[in-house]
């Protein structure tokens, strides 16, 4: 027998996103082997759910970025096996939710998309077409004991400290050594949905350390085709190898020639980074 799935929605009452988390959860419980966890009751009396939680795995549905349901599970130390965020999926589907609670075609479609995502038919990530350069040459400078590296060629940068490397019409994106050193041990990478279309400078999720959260600002426009799955279990790759193994997202480029106007090459970014390092005390 397969294990029970315990579904914990945020069940937010005050906004459309919260209402959708409720709708998705209720829909899910129509299938066999799915147990609904009420967040209010869980918070009040965790023992009520001890048995099912021990047997099953926890699936969390957060409505918005306050992530109440995830935080609740975290504070009760229940490990989360899977989670979705209604607002983020809505964004990827280009659906504007707003505050008012509504039941219409658009929200039905969103509920459907969330259900598909949760039943494991998640959009499969295609084999990457990105050709990794054989070796990357770096220039570096030091500040205090910290060493800051920047690749000398093959990479473009924005002033938000994200890099992009191009292979055909595929772009690989990551953060620079400046971000990595500043954040120190990176613990989480919240990366975007496959299929999300972004303009240049739109955000591509975030990475988080014990110190702070850093928003990834896309250097280029395009559509997300892949995220670095290795980071799920080894976010430290971003610290160890920010320009290579620790890449974050791949995009299919849509307008690189124009994007390039607002990007920096090695020399210009090297100076920007030196200035930033001198200004911030890492």
């Amino acid at each position: 027998m397969s294990k029970t799935v315990c579904v914990l929605p945020c069940n937010g009452l005050d906004k459309c996103a919260g209402d959708i988390s409720r709708r998705v959860a209720l829909k899910l419980t129509e299938s066999e082997g799915v147990e609904l966890i009420c967040p209010v009751l869980l918070n009040q009396n965790k023992t009520r759910y001890d048995k099912v939680l021990e047997e099953g795995f926890l699936s969390v549905i957060d409505g918005c970025n306050t992530r109440c349901a995830s935080k609740l599970a975290g504070s009760l130390e229940i490990p989360i096996k899977e989670k979705v965020n209604v607002s983020e999926v809505a964004k990827a589907q280009n659906i504007k939710l707003g505050a008012a609670i509504r039941e219409d075609e658009e929200t039905d479609a969103l509920v459907q998309a969330l259900l598909e995502k949760m039943s494991g038919s998640e959009e499969k990530q295609a084999e990457s077409e990105f050709v990794v350069p054989e070796s990357v040459n770096y220039d570096s400078f030091t500040h205090d004991k910290f060493i800051f590296k920047v690749p000398k060629s093959g990479y473009y940068f924005n002033e938000n400290d994200c890099w992009v490397s191009i292979s055909g019409d595929v772009a690989r994106i990551g953060v620079t050594d400046f971000v990595q050193q500043n954040l120190s041990d990176i613990l989480f990478a919240d990366l975007p949905e496959i299929g999300l279309a972004v303009e240049q400078f739109d955000d591509l999720g975030s990475i988080e350390s014990g110190k702070t959260v850093f928003e990834i600002v896309s250097p280029v426009s395009g559509t997300v085709t892949a995220v670095n799955k290795a980071l799920e279990n080894a976010p430290e790759l971003i610290n160890e190898s920010p320009y290579e193994m620790g890449w974050l997202v791949e995009l299919k480029l849509s307008n690189f020639e124009e994007d390039k106007e607002l990007l920096l090459g090695f020399e210009a970014y090297f100076e920007v980074m030196k200035r930033k390092v001198a200004e911030t005390n890492v």
Partner: protein
């Protein structure tokens, strides 16, 4: 180079009180006594080949703070990098008996321990200021 910086390495030893004190002194230098010009180096990382830690110790004066007379931190720095600019053996400041007491969780620190930390930090500052 304009930036004056001094490295401080504690042994952070786990087998005696001196190790706990060495650690607290390093943190005190970093946060309270000489902030901004103190760089703490991680001893295990230094030995495991940490590029940043070793380069720093090559370039800047570094003080070793050891919890007992084995002087592990001092020996490690001298083995992999340069001669230390100064070194402290906590045994010689607070006495062997006190230093060789059981290692302590930071939760169980008493005023007596904080007084040891102060004595050792005073001595560290003295060496430190002689180097700046």
């Amino acid at each position: 180079m304009a930036d004056k910086r001094i490295g401080v390495v504690g042994c952070s030893g786990e087998e005696c009180l001196g190790g706990t004190i060495s650690r607290l002194v390093v943190r005190k230098m970093l946060e309270e006594l000489r902030p901004g010009i103190t760089t703490s180096l991680c001893l295990p990382l230094f030995i495991a080949g940490g590029e940043e830690e070793r380069r720093f110790a090559d370039k800047y004066p570094t003080i070793a703070i050891d919890g007992c007379s084995k002087c592990c931190a001092k020996r490690a720095i001298e083995k992999f990098s340069n001669k230390v600019a100064g070194s402290i053996d906590i045994c010689q400041i607070i006495g062997e008996e006190a230093a060789m007491d059981k290692p302590l969780s930071t939760r169980n620190l008493t005023d007596k321990h904080l007084e040891y930390v102060k004595q050792v930090s005073d001595k560290t500052c003295e060496i430190f200021d002689g180097l700046v």
